[in-house]
Amino acid sequence: MSDEEPSSDFDQEHSEGAGDQPENARISLQEQEYSPKVNGRLQRQHRVFYQRKAKKIEQILSKDPVDIAELRQQSISRGGLLTDDLRRRAWPILLNVNVKNITPKPEAAVLQGHRDYRQVVLDVERSLRRFPPGMEEQHRLSLQDSLVDVIMRVLVKHPELYYYQGFHDICVTFLLVVDEDMAFALVEKLSLGHLRDYMEATMERTTQVLNYLQPLLKKANPELYDYLEGAELGNIFCLSWIITWFGHVLNDIKSILRIYDFFIACHALMPIYLTAAVVLYREKEIFETEQEMPFLHALLSKVPDNLPFEQLLSNAGDLYILYPPVELANEALKRFRRAQAQAAARKQLALQKNAQRKSILPDGNVTFAKVTWWMLGAVASVAVYALYSSMDWDWSSWISHGS
C-alpha cells in the first residue's frame, strides 16, 4: 500500500469538513481499506455490510443506558467502530469515562515541574511521523503541544504512574480522533487499566507481560516456538508493539485505530495475542530466515503494513479463547523467574571477573608478590636443606656414638 493512500483517507476523515460528509461516503472509504482488490459484487456486499454495521452501532449508542456488551461486541468484530465520529461517542462509554466530569488542566508550571516533563517533550518533538503528512505545520505544532499536556496531565494526576517511551504513541492516537480533554480522560482510564503494568517505576511488570508470548507460541505452534527459542530470540522485538498497541510500528492510522477499537474492548493481555497472531502468520518467513537472533529480530521487529489485520485480529481472538491467560500464567512466571536467576548469575560472574581483574591487573603489585613468593620459597628451601643435612649429620653421629 502506498504512503499516499492512507494519508488522503486520513485527510478526508480528519478534515474540518468531515462531519458534513454523507455517512455513505465515509463508509465507502472504510470499505476500500479492507477490501482493496475485490470485484464489484463483493464491493457491494462489503458496502452493505459496513452500512448495516454503522447503523447498528448508531442504534446501540442512541439507547439510554447503552448496552455496553453489545457495543463491545461491535468494537471487536470486523471493521471495529468504523468511523472517527462513532469512535468519539463509543470510546468514552467502553472505557467508562464520565464525560461531564473531566479533571481540569492544572497550570502549566505544575505540568512542567514533573520529573518526566523533559523526557516527554523530547519524545513528542520527535513524534512527527505520527502526524499525517498533509497536516499544516501550525496545526501539527498545536497538536504536539496538546500531546505534551495530555501526557503530563495523566502523570501529574497520578504520581504513582511513570512515563515510558511509547506512552506518547498511545496518546497521540487518541489525540488524532478526540479533543485534548477527552484524550486525557480516555488515556487516564487506560493508564489505570490496560496500560497499568507498563507504567511502573521499573519494567519488571512489563517483562512479566512479555513472558506470556513464548508459552502462547509454544501451545499454538511448537515447531515455530522451538525455532525461535533455538535462536534465543528473546522478546524485545515486540516490546514496542505491546506497549504502544502497535501505534509505534504501523504507518497506517486506519489500521492503528481499528486495532485500538479491538484492544479497548478486550482483555489487557490481548496485545500479546495479536503479537502471537502476527508471528504465527509470518511462520514461513521465519523458517526461511537463518536461526540466529539478529536476523530473526530484524525480520520480526518490523511489522509490514500490508498484513491482513482484520484476519489477524480474528486469529488473536481465537488464540485467546483457545489458550486464555490463566493457562499461560504459570509458564510465563517460570520463564520470568528463570530469566531473573540467569541475569543474577551473569551479574555475579561479571562482578567476580571484575574483582579478579582488579586484583591482578596492577603490574607493580604482581611483581612484588612474585618476588615475595620467590624469596619466601628460597628461604624455606635453604632452611629445609640445612635442617635435613644437620639431621643427617646428627643421625649418623648418634649411630656411631651408640654403636
Binding site: 520527535r126 511521523r129 506518547h168 524485545i236 522485538f237 509505534h248 539478529p294 518490523k302 562482578l351
Partner: protein, 261 residues
C-alpha cells in the same frame, strides 16, 4: 516510498547476506554481486547513551548513508547492519541501537549486551547532562559482563551545532583518556561529516578485524592502553600521530572545520 517508511525497513535495504555470502561492491554506479565461499566474520557493536543524543541517527547514517528524515524515540532495541571491506576482508558489522530511557536499560537491554564485540558510547555535545551520565553507562557496561578489553569508543554527537556546544573537547578528551577510549566529535546530521561517521565505525571495524576472530573477546590480544595508537585505518589524509584513531578520523572530517572536530 517515503523516507520514514524506508527507515522502518532499514534492515531490508542492507544486503542480507549472512552465511550464503553475497558480496556487494559498487563499481562505477553498477552493483556487482560476487559469490564468496568463505564465511564472513560478523561483529556485534552495541551503541549506548542517553535519550536523544543521536544513537539512531548515527547508526542510520553509517548503515544507510543518510540522515533520517523523521527520527523517533527508540523503543527497546533496533538492529541495523552493514557489510564493510577492511584490508581485503569482508566483514559484517551489526549495530544494536538501544533505547536511551533509563527504564529500558535497566531490565530490557541486558539480553543485547551478550557477546558484544565493541561498544560505542554516545553523548550529545550540546547537552552536558548526557556527558555527565557517561560514567553510569560505562558502569552499566561493566555490570553486564562486558570485558574491559573489548574495543570501546566515545562519540560526541551534534558537533554541527557550533553555538550550542556545552561539552568542552578537552574535558571530554580527559575523560576518554582516563577510560582508555578514543574520542570522536562528529555530527550525524551534517552531510559533510558523512565520511567522518563512516571513519569512526571503520576504525572500530579495523580494531575488530585485527582481533583474534574465533576467541571470546577477552582472550583477544588487546592491550587497552595501546589500542588507540596501534590501529591501522584506510584512506586517510596525513599520517597518524599521537592519538592515532582520532586524528585519522579528523583527517576525513576535514581539518579545522567549523564544528571544531
Amino acid at each position: 516510498m517515503s523516507g520514514d517508511l524506508a527507515s522502518r525497513h532499514s534492515y531490508d535495504e542492507t544486503p542480507h547476506t549472512s552465511r550464503s555470502e553475497m558480496v556487494e561492491s559498487a563499481e562505477g554506479g553498477a552493483v556487482q554481486i560476487v559469490e564468496k565461499q568463505v564465511q564472513r566474520r560478523i561483529f556485534k557493536i552495541i551503541v549506548i547513551g542517553d535519550s536523544n543524543v543521536g544513537k539512531t541517527c548515527l547508526t542510520y547514517r553509517f548503515c544507510l548513508g543518510k540522515f533520517p528524515d523523521k527520527t523517533e524515540a527508540t523503543i527497546g532495541v533496533d538492529f541495523r547492519e552493514k557489510a564493510v571491506h577492511v584490508d581485503g576482508e569482508h566483514l559484517k558489522l551489526q549495530l544494536w541501537d538501544t533505547a536511551g530511557q533509563e527504564r529500558f536499560r535497566k531490565s530490557m537491554v541486558q539480553h543485547y549486551y551478550r557477546n558484544v564485540h565493541a561498544v560505542v558510547f554516545v553523548y550529545d555535545m550540546t547537552k552536558m547532562s548526557s556527558f555527565e551520565n557517561m560514567p553510569q553507562w560505562i558502569e552499566e557496561c561493566d555490570r553486564h559482563n562486558l570485558n574491559k578489553s573489548i574495543p570501546r569508543i566515545l562519540v560526541g554527537n551534534k558537533c554541527d551545532a557550533v553555538d550550542r556546544v556545552a561539552v568542552n573537547t578537552n574535558l571530554a578528551q580527559k575523560f576518554a583518556d582516563s577510560h582508555n577510549m578514543p574520542l570522536f566529535e562528529t555530527s550525524a546530521k551534517d552531510d559533510e561529516k558523512a565520511n567522518h561517521v563512516d571513519a569512526i565505525f571503520m576504525t572500530v571495524a579495523h580494531k575488530l578485524k585485527n582481533s583474534k576472530p574465533m576467541m571470546p573477546p577477552h582472550l583477544a590480544d588487546f592491550v587497552p592502553g595501546e589500542v588507540p595508537r596501534n590501529v591501522e585505518y584506510i584512506s586517510l589524509r596525513g599520517s597518524p600521530h599521537h592519538r592515532g584513531l582520532q586524528t585519522a578520523a579528523r583527517g576525513q572530517c576535514g581539518e579545522k572545520s567549523d564544528c571544531g572536530c
